[in-house]
């Protein structure tokens, strides 16, 4: 087992970054080198990848070293990484020499134009307790829902490899990243230097401990939220029962937010089968002095949840079965019926707070920060109206990235509309089914007339009240989902 990487030669790391960029060590470049395959994390795919990589290509050598965890001849590695000398990388714990071959001690994954060093995958059930994860589905989901705007101070709680902090460093003047795991601290510092982010400050300590009494404009956190009986991995297991860890974290966020500041945290929580998924989260954010947007990705019952989190133990005889039994017994003891996974977005605001809960159609999110800000803005606007007043007088415009999908059938030479759906091509990719006349009303909402006028045009004489009553609940929902933007409302922040 090697030591953690040390960023004590910034010049060499800058050169490594430049060299990897030159080699096209990017998602796209690597996919091309692999003949169109996207790289999986599955070690069983390695033999195939090795056959796909062109013999003697410097990019191929870098992929072998940093992604496939395969040894490379010294000469090949030298050529691939020049002008960075191998000894300098060995000195920082990035590479280790073994006879006339070298191996990487860390995995380096390209993420957009960032490079993220993390621990390598150690096989089923393997990995050290302080294993440091790089990018994952959850890290990408958190990055996608983060409201990106220029701010002064940002905080990444439980930074791990530092991937969120690196993203924050692009739009925050100063980023503080905390972690309780010394190995994660080392990786986060290393990655800050590797990516030339001088504005990331890494502090050791559990959760908010290193930032007691401090407030931030923006907070993100991808914490160990898994609801498990284990306390094996720092990155996964909090060691606290049920969802109390996630609850505690959410409850402590507001005290570190400045007025108007946004916090984004991934959580898992438990709820009864016949209870709305948002019910427990509403309790966590009640009285928090924050508005809250609750987003749910998935809900699983305990068996499938346990199977998903222990999937890689299938490689070890008996281990998968043992883990399933252990997890299921734990879930039974706590009376857990359903486990949901999602994100909580908070915005600190004086006055009466609101809570909005939305289901996400997919975990594969596009960058959604702008969409989420729009949702906060439209909800503020709805709250600013008195009950049942002002909505009809509001001038709305349809979001630019909307798409209508109309499904027709042709019967006897006539088109019959079967269904009309409106969806957003970007952001959270919401989708809503429309009532027959709603589409005609939306078509008139081009920013030149009030909602009431549009309904009036579609309704014709004498039918206004009836149609308005029919359509308004759906239209309010479209406003809440960010499809319709009130032109008279000011966006927040």
């Amino acid at each position: 087992m090697t030591d953690e990487p040390r960023a004590d030669d910034p010049e060499a790391l800058a050169a490594l970054r430049a060299r990897l960029r030159e080699l096209r060590f990017t998602g796209e470049g690597i996919a091309e080198a692999l003949g169109g395959d996207t790289l999986s994390r599955d070690p069983q795919d390695v033999p195939r990848y090795l056959r796909q990589l062109a013999e003697g290509s410097p990019l191929g050598a870098a992929v072998k070293l940093f992604l496939l965890d395969v040894a490379v001849g010294v000469a090949e590695a030298e050529e691939a990484l020049a002008p960075v000398g191998l000894e300098r990388l060995e000195g920082m714990g990035v590479l280790a020499r073994d006879g006339d071959e070298v191996r990487a001690c860390v995995s380096i994954t390209p993420l957009g134009d960032l490079l993220v060093a993390s621990d390598r995958y150690e096989g089923p059930g393997g990995g050290r307790p302080d294993h440091v994860v790089g990018t994952s589905i959850s890290s990408r989901a958190l990055a996608a829902v983060t409201v990106r705007r220029p701010v002064e101070r940002a905080l990444d709680v439980g930074t791990g490899s530092g991937v969120q902090a690196l993203e924050l460093a692009r739009h925050a003047e100063h980023v503080v990243a905390t972690d309780v795991n010394p190995r994660a601290i080392a990786f986060a510092r290393f990655n800050a230097v590797l990516n030339g982010c001088a504005n990331v400050e890494v502090r050791a300590g559990s959760l908010f401990e290193p930032v007691e009494g401090e407030r931030f404009d923006l907070i993100v956190s991808n914490p160990p939220y898994v609801i498990s009986p284990e306390s094996e991995f720092t990155y996964r297991d909090s060691g606290l029962p049920g969802d109390t860890f996630s609850e505690g974290l959410v409850r402590r966020l507001p005290e570190h937010l400045v007025e108007g500041g946004f916090a984004h945290v991934l959580v898992e929580w438990v709820h009864a089968r016949d209870e709305p998924w948002a019910a427990p989260l509403r309790g966590w954010v009640a009285g928090s002095a924050c508005d809250a947007l609750l987003l749910r990705f998935t809900t699983q019952e305990p068996t499938r949840y346990a199977a998903a989190w222990n999937a890689d133990l299938r490689g070890i005889p008996g281990a998968f079965e043992d883990a399933l039994d252990r997890w299921l017994a734990y879930h039974r003891r706590l009376g857990i019926e359903e486990i949901s996974w999602g994100a909580v977005v908070l915005r600190r605001r004086a006055g009466e707070s609101w809570v909005l809960a939305h289901d996400l159609p997919s975990t594969r999110l596009a960058p959604s920060g702008d969409h989420i800000r729009r949702i906060f803005g439209t909800r503020d606007y709805l709250d600013s109206l008195g009950v049942g007043r002002g909505l009809l007088e509001t001038v709305f415009a349809l979001a630019d990235d909307h798409v209508f999908e109309q499904r027709y059938e042709v019967r006897g030479g006539e088109r019959v509309v079967l269904e009309t759906v409106v969806r957003l091509a970007g952001g959270l990719r919401f989708e809503a089914e429309l009532q027959p006349d709603a589409e005609r009303v939306l078509a008139l909402l081009d920013g030149t007339r009030a909602l009431g006028e549009a309904i009036g045009e579609v309704a014709g004489a004498g039918r206004f009240d009836e149609l308005a009553g029919e359509l308004l609940p759906g239209i309010v929902r479209l406003v809440e989902l960010g499809f319709l933007v009130p032109l008279s409302a000011d966006p927040p922040g």
């Binding site: 070690p43 195939r48 796909q52 299921l328």
Partner: protein, 470 residues
């Protein structure tokens, strides 16, 4: 009686899905521990699922109760169950499909065994879906395996011959035919056409060992003949076993150069054979991906051996100069006169029962060839077939509708989908099956400036060929 017992316990596709809390597909290798924990501990259906679906032993009393009034002795004599550690175990999988109950070799035990009898694979489903189902006298299932195609044919053929070189496969075919209550399936042992020399059939179905590989280890996968020569031989001999008007459906692989027209080689196989031919290509792989995909099971078990096998396969392709391997189906219809060949490349992903659709593809070729000139289509009264959808994607900009795309798709069969332009959409919306295409085009061009009959005709012809219009 076994069928009645299983049906009585609710051992069918929906019942198993409910009991396992999943809509499938079921990955029994990966998820067995999970399924065992989801399943209720007691009851007839859970016991039967353990035995015949999951392949797990069940205590003798429990098995006896679940299978009553059938006795364990009778089932053991049939070779379906055997004493195992922990009670009674099944020797075969019993998998319900939508219509059938099929027995075949347990997957985890014998896939690498030479005479393994395969269960239902995506290829099995594909062939079952593509086969044109109409009442016929005689049918032939060539390489019957577990017998699924024989049984499906037995529903609409007076008599079915199931031929296989693997005696074990024929035992399964015979067993499955009886299990599903069909007595019109006759099993014959022998290699390919050998057991039916000199006979002709109204219907032939064939899911042969078409994988292009250097191996000859597995009867169900490897033909042992170099390259695609096995498939070629099979297709070339097919017509002599078809009665006039008879239809053959066969799954095939073939090889070609990277930049070649994929259809060139199968066209050569069917040229001058006295049959009309539909050539359907579902997928083309480059050699490395093909070798890796065909050995996916090995990859999971032994990565090093997987690497060696992939090397052996790719070396074999190199040696034969193979740059691409395509996979698809050929449908032949024996017909006197001038024959046609139509090649198309549908997706194999979204497929449903397609008998009616494939029949329409054949009818469309007959019709278009009979018309000769496309302009003759103008006198036809066309309409979109039932089960179509026209999906329009519309964006509103400054109060104007902008149609970004129109997708015409079929809900059933081969589930074709094609992009159609605005003017064509207009024409399609007016077709009512009574007015002639000429009349409709006239009306549409009044609404769509720039629409000319000549331009529209090509698109309409294509939609007739694809089975959208009738």
């Amino acid at each position: 009686m076994l069928r009645a017992v299983l049906a009585g316990a609710g051992y069918d596709s929906p019942g198993i899905k409910r009991a396992l809390g999943s809509d499938g597909p079921f990955e029994r290798d990966d998820n067995l521990p999970l399924y065992l924990r989801v399943l209720l501990p007691r009851g007839r259906l859970p016991a039967l699922i353990r035995l015949f679906f999951l392949g797990v032993p069940v205590a003798a009393e429990e098995a006896a109760a679940a299978l009553a009034p059938l006795s364990l002795q009778r089932l053991e004599a049939l070779g379906l169950i055997a004493p195992r550690e922990g009670g009674i175990g099944a020797t075969v999988d019993l998998t319900p499909t939508d219509e059938l109950l099929l027995a075949y070799d347990r997957a985890e035990r014998g896939v690498e065994e030479r005479e393994h009898v395969m269960g239902i694979s995506p290829a099995t489903k594909l062939l079952a879906y593509l086969t044109i189902r109409r009442p016929v006298e005689t049918a032939l299932d060539l390489g019957s395996g577990s017998g699924v195609h024989s049984i499906l044919a037995a529903k609409h053929a007076r008599s079915v011959v199931a031929a296989d070189v693997n005696p074990r496969a024929l035992e399964f075919t015979a067993f499955n035919a009886l299990l599903n209550g069909f007595e019109n399936v006759e099993c014959r042992l022998g290699d390919l056409f050998e057991p039916v020399e000199g006979e002709r059939f109204d219907l032939v179905v064939c899911n042969p060992p078409y994988v292009v590989s250097p191996e000859s280890a597995l009867v169900y996968r490897d033909s042992g003949v170099p390259g695609d020569a096995f498939c070629e031989g099979l297709v070339r001999r097919m017509p002599e076993f078809l009665a006039e008007g008879g239809l053959a459906h066969v799954l095939v692989s073939w090889v070609h150069g990277r930049d070649d027209d994929w259809s060139a080689r199968p066209r050569a196989w069917v040229a001058g054979n006295g049959c009309d031919a539909l050539l359907l290509r579902f997928r083309t792989h480059e050699p490395l991906a093909y070798a890796a995909g065909s050995n996916a099971r090995l990859r999971r078990r032994d990565a090093d051996e997987f690497g060696r096998v992939v090397d052996r396969w790719t070396a074999y392709y190199d040696e034969l100069g193979i740059e691409a391997i395509s996979w698809g189906a050929i449908v032949l219809r024996r017909r006197r006169g001038e024959n046609w060949v139509w090649a198309h490349s549908p997706s194999a992903e979204r497929l449903g029962p397609a008998s009616g659709h494939v029949q329409r593809l054949v009818d469309a070729q007959d019709r278009l060839r009979a018309l000769g000139d496309d302009r003759a289509l103008l006198d036809a009264a066309l309409a979109l077939v039932p089960g179509h959808r026209l999906d329009q994607t519309v964006v509103l900009r400054g109060g104007d509708e902008e149609v970004e795309a129109s997708l015409l798709r079929l809900l059933d069969g081969l589930r074709f989908q094609v992009q159609v332009d605005g003017p064509t959409t207009r024409v399609l919306s007016l077709l009512d099956g009574e007015r002639t295409l000429r009349d409709v085009l006239e009306e549409a061009s009044a609404l769509e400036p720039g629409l000319t009959p000549e331009a529209a005709l090509g698109g309409i012809r294509q939609l007739v060929e694809l089975g959208f219009l009738e």
